[in-house]
């Protein structure tokens, strides 16, 4: 089954085409890296996949639901996390779990069970009443990710989850991603760290609103005669002609 499937998906703002006829699919259980320069159209595309923005034309389904007609269903079957917005720092650990669990529609019984289970697996039982702001970054990230998948979504969207994060914490975070992927959750991730592109099963690179390349990292490196993903990215993204 394809968790995301698009056909010539397009989004225009006035005479500006932010996303230009993209057609691709994401397989169930895969870790899919969605790369592109700032302004290439990644965020606009992600907003359409999350049911937050209606496309101008083209087709797309996410978790089997149509992005035009079933955006509310989509929201129930996806998770979302970004480095910029993930948890409320001035709420306690348990309050954050409760808030997000409630938003994702968990019943209070299930929420109570889930809270205990989560605190246990994250080893945060002693931090239940701690304000999230005073947790170390690595713990915060673990919690943010766990909360984003608390309702066991089909797919989780990670928008630059490791932006500004130090090398050690970044690697710990990727181990969480692998674990979730092994449990069958499809991962859709954007990143500006090119070593992280290597950890994806497949990646796409957007340039000027179009998907210019899409394949396994090893195939792309061969195709562009590059030693690493950074070289692949640099050679593609430098072709961009439109301003940011």
């Amino acid at each position: 089954m394809h968790v995301i499937e698009t056909d010539k998906l397009t989004k225009r703002f006035g005479d500006f085409t932010a996303v230009d006829r993209i057609s691709f699919w994401v397989e169930s259980g895969e870790i899919f890296g969605f790369l592109g320069a700032n302004g290439a159209g990644k965020t606009t595309a992600m907003r359409m996949f999350c049911g937050l923005s209606v496309p101008t034309s083209g087709k797309a389904t996410v978790a089997g639901y149509d992005v035009y007609r079933k955006s509310e269903q989509i929201k129930k079957h996806i998770g979302y996390m970004s480095q910029k917005f993930s948890l409320y720092g001035d709420l306690k650990v348990w309050e954050n779990i409760r808030l997000f669990g409630g938003i994702y529609g968990l019943s209070s019984k299930r929420l109570a069970d889930k809270t205990d289970e989560l605190l246990h697996t994250l080893n945060l039982e002693n931090e239940r009443d701690t304000l999230v702001d005073s947790l170390p970054l690595g713990w915060k990230q673990k919690l943010a990710f766990s909360v984003a998948i608390i309702h066991e979504p089909t797919i989780v969207f990670l928008d630059e989850p490791t932006g500004g994060v130090d090398p050690v914490t970044r690697r710990q975070f990727w181990e969480l991603i692998y674990d979730a992927s092994a449990r069958g959750i499809t991962i859709f991730v954007t990143t500006h760290y090119m070593d992280e592109a290597e950890y994806c099963n497949r990646i796409s690179i957007m340039v000027d609103g179009r998907i210019e390349a899409l394949d396994k990292p090893s195939v792309l490196k061969e195709m562009y005669h590059a030693g690493n993903m950074n070289e692949v990215f640099q050679s593609l993204a430098r072709k961009a002609t439109r301003g940011e």
């Binding site: 592109g36 320069a37 700032n38 302004g39 480095q83 005073s134 170390p136 970054l137 630059e160 932006g163 500004g164 994060v165 130090d166 090398p167 050690v168 914490t169 690697r171 990727w174 692998y178 500006h192 760290y193 090119m194 070593d195 290597e198 950890y199 990292p217 090893s218 690493n228 993903m229 950074n230 990215f233 640099q234 993204a237 430098r238 961009a240 301003g243 940011e244």
Partner: protein, 301 residues
């Protein structure tokens, strides 16, 4: 241009801050602060930019004391904080004019200094700063920080959230500014950028562990490092860590980097061990440590 001696600052809220930092930065030097979240990088910037008072120790910028001479220092430094350095509702042009006016100068007066950067944002001069993409915002913020021709630049994670192409361009600019004699103190979570600094300080928990050129720091790395690849990379990570000779093992893009324990068996033993676990196409070879390896090692000591 910058001299920091045994600087202390404690936040009662969480116990973080600075615990005795010392460093110097010369004119025309590009100096990098590398450290995890909570290492104290932003605190150091804020003290040097005279926005925060230290508890103990001293610091001078352009030969001026950060406590006594704060007024004078503010006219001589440019500071680009991690966030909110621009007025989102003002256009590109309005932001530049605003910062120029605050420093009692004009865009024209120091145009030569910012020209390289300004020409890239000029096509968007009427766009609101809040509507610019990440890379462009950072270029505008750098322009604003440079508008009064400062002698010292403080850049707190200027390229976080910026794509790889724009990051390379941003660092090319820093190298041109440094040639004009400006001292630059910059923090970054990107290890490839650390390698582009003249000298770097590795920071953790408010202290500075090592200071030196990126080459010196690489050479001071004690343990042998190996690059390892095979067919099942994620599973491989756990299995290498369970090997008796492994001190640490981390993913580095398309390979894993293994550092050896002091009394580790011969590396051939690892190959046998991995083949025994059913791995095929195992590829092991020794490599020179990178700055990132050195940084990761800090977390283990």
């Amino acid at each position: 241009m910058i001299a920091v001696r045994n600087l202390h600052k404690t936040y009662t809220r969480n116990g973080l801050g600075l615990k005795g930092i010392s460093l110097t930065v010369k004119a025309g030097e590009l100096f990098g602060l590398i450290g995890p979240d909570g290492a104290g990088k932003t605190t150091l910037f804020r003290i040097l930019a005279t926005l925060l008072l230290p508890d103990k120790g001293s610091a001078s910028v352009c030969g001026l004391d950060v406590v006594k001479d704060w007024r004078e220092i503010r006219t001589r430094v440019g500071y680009m904080p991690g966030r909110f350095s621009l007025y989102q509702d003002l256009s590109v042009k309005e932001n530049l004019t605003f910062f120029a006016t605050v420093f009692n100068t004009t865009l024209k007066e120091n145009y030569e200094l910012i020209r390289d950067i300004y020409v890239q944002i000029e096509p968007f001069k009427n766009r609101r700063a809040g509507k610019l993409s990440g890379g462009m915002k950072q270029k505008l913020a750098l322009c604003c920080a440079l508008i009064h021709r400062p002698d010292v630049l403080f850049l707190d994670e200027p390229t976080t959230g910026v794509d790889p192409v724009s990051r390379v361009e941003f660092w090319d600019m820093l190298h041109r500014l440094k040639k004009q004699g400006i001292a630059i103190l910059v923090s970054t979570p990107y290890m490839d950028e650390a390698s582009r600094c003249d000298r770097i300080a590795l920071m953790r928990n408010g202290s500075c562990f090592t200071t030196g050129t990126p080459d010196m720091i690489r050479q001071s790395f004690k343990r042998p490092v190996y690059s390892i690849r095979s067919d099942k990379m994620y599973q491989l990570l756990g299995d290498i860590r369970s090997w008796t000779g492994a001190y640490s093992c981390y993913a580095f893009g398309d390979s894993h980097h293994l550092t050896l324990k002091d009394n580790a068996p011969d590396i051939a033993n690892l190959e046998t061990y991995l083949k025994g676990k059913g791995y095929t196409d195992v590829f092991i070879h020794p490599i020179e440590p990178s700055v990132e390896d050195c940084f990761m090692e800090l977390g283990n000591d």
